[in-house]
């Protein structure tokens, strides 16, 4: 369905709207004439004019899009960040700002701060920063792929705790 040469995947999670992010990407796509942006916009109220937008996608379909994406754009949610690292995809993240009612607390701002030095992760603190990243999209590169499992030092200790009578 989406097997095209270039695919930009925008996602905002399933729980909360994030109109500021969706609108900025949509405006950019219109201004630059891009028709290769697929968006999972959750309960966002802004209606995109250029993006191929879906409120929700089934996990398998979403995974397929993530695998095929050349660039991911998302809120600073760990699902998108970890998946981008696992698949070695460059990801632009814009944190939800709780002072604008975009989340219940400021943890996405902290996440953006913690992950901004990680290769492959490009933090946009606001719409301007997002457009800056979008204008030099071709230069963004992914990280080396993260193994799809936690370090054994973590899972071994957890397994020990579970196995202990």
């Amino acid at each position: 369905m989406f097997r095209i040469g270039h695919l930009i995947l925008l996602s905002v999670g399933t729980q909360l709207p994030f109109d500021r992010l969706v609108r900025t990407v949509d405006d950019w796509a219109i201004a630059t004439g891009r028709s290769d942006v697929v968006a999972q916009i959750g309960p966002s109220t802004y209606a995109p004019r250029s993006l191929k937008a879906f409120p929700f996608l089934a996990p398998e379909a979403f995974r397929e899009l993530q695998l095929n994406a050349t660039i991911m754009i998302s809120h600073a949610g760990m699902g998108s960040i970890l998946t981008a690292l696992e698949y070695g995809k460059p990801i632009i993240i814009m944190p939800r700002d709780h002072s604008r009612g975009e989340h219940r607390n400021g943890h996405q701002l902290a996440t953006a701060e913690r992950f901004k030095a990680v290769p492959g992760i490009y933090v946009a603190s606001d719409e301007l920063g997002l457009v800056e990243h979008l204008t030099r999209l071709a230069e963004l590169t992914g990280s080396a792929r993260l193994p799809p499992h936690a370090p054994a030092s973590f899972t071994d200790r957890l397994r020990d705790f579970i196995s202990r009578p």
Partner: protein, 159 residues
């Protein structure tokens, strides 16, 4: 020598709970800790595949503190799952369904593990702060946070 293994030697029955999204991805990355045990996964979005074990993933209603009705439905669904599956151990990476699961599990005598999301680097999540006194093992993924909460440990992070 007893001719039957004592009850404490039976294999753990694991209930593994995470909301869809980041919580689920983090729980999935921990599958090596659960492989070989009877494991029932629970999440909030239809269509997820169990990272380990043969049981199909159970789905409960998603919800947060801003949607009390959804939380009530979620609670009832988790109560049903816990009573039916009778887990000996419950492990969760959050959020709301994990809170209900570990509190229900504790009432029914299960061992409980809370793993706070890697997203919470400045303080424990609200959910984590709600349950940390009530679980058998509470983990943060940020070593510096163990100073702020003496009953919270760190085994490292999922990445």
């Amino acid at each position: 020598m007893p001719d039957k293994a004592p009850a404490t030697m039976t294999a753990p029955r694991l209930l593994l709970v995470a909301s869809a999204g980041g919580h689920w991805v983090q729980l999935s990355r921990l599958a090596a800790a659960f492989e070989g045990f009877d494991a029932q996964y629970v999440t909030t979005l239809k269509g997820a595949r169990a990272p380990c074990g043969w049981r199909p993933v159970a789905v409960v209603r998603d919800g947060s503190q801003t949607d009390p009705l959804a939380l009530l439905i979620m609670f009832a669904q988790l109560l049903f799952i816990v009573l039916k599956f009778r887990p000996s151990t419950i492990v969760t990476t959050g959020a709301a369904p994990g809170v209900f699961a570990v509190r229900l599990g504790k009432l029914l005598g299960a061992r409980t593990v809370w793993i706070d999301s890697i997203a919470n680097s400045e303080k424990l999540s609200l959910s984590g702060r709600l349950v940390r006194k009530h679980v058998d093992l509470c983990l943060t993924q940020w070593p510096h946070l163990t100073d702020a909460y003496p009953d919270v440990q760190c085994f490292g992070s999922v990445i």
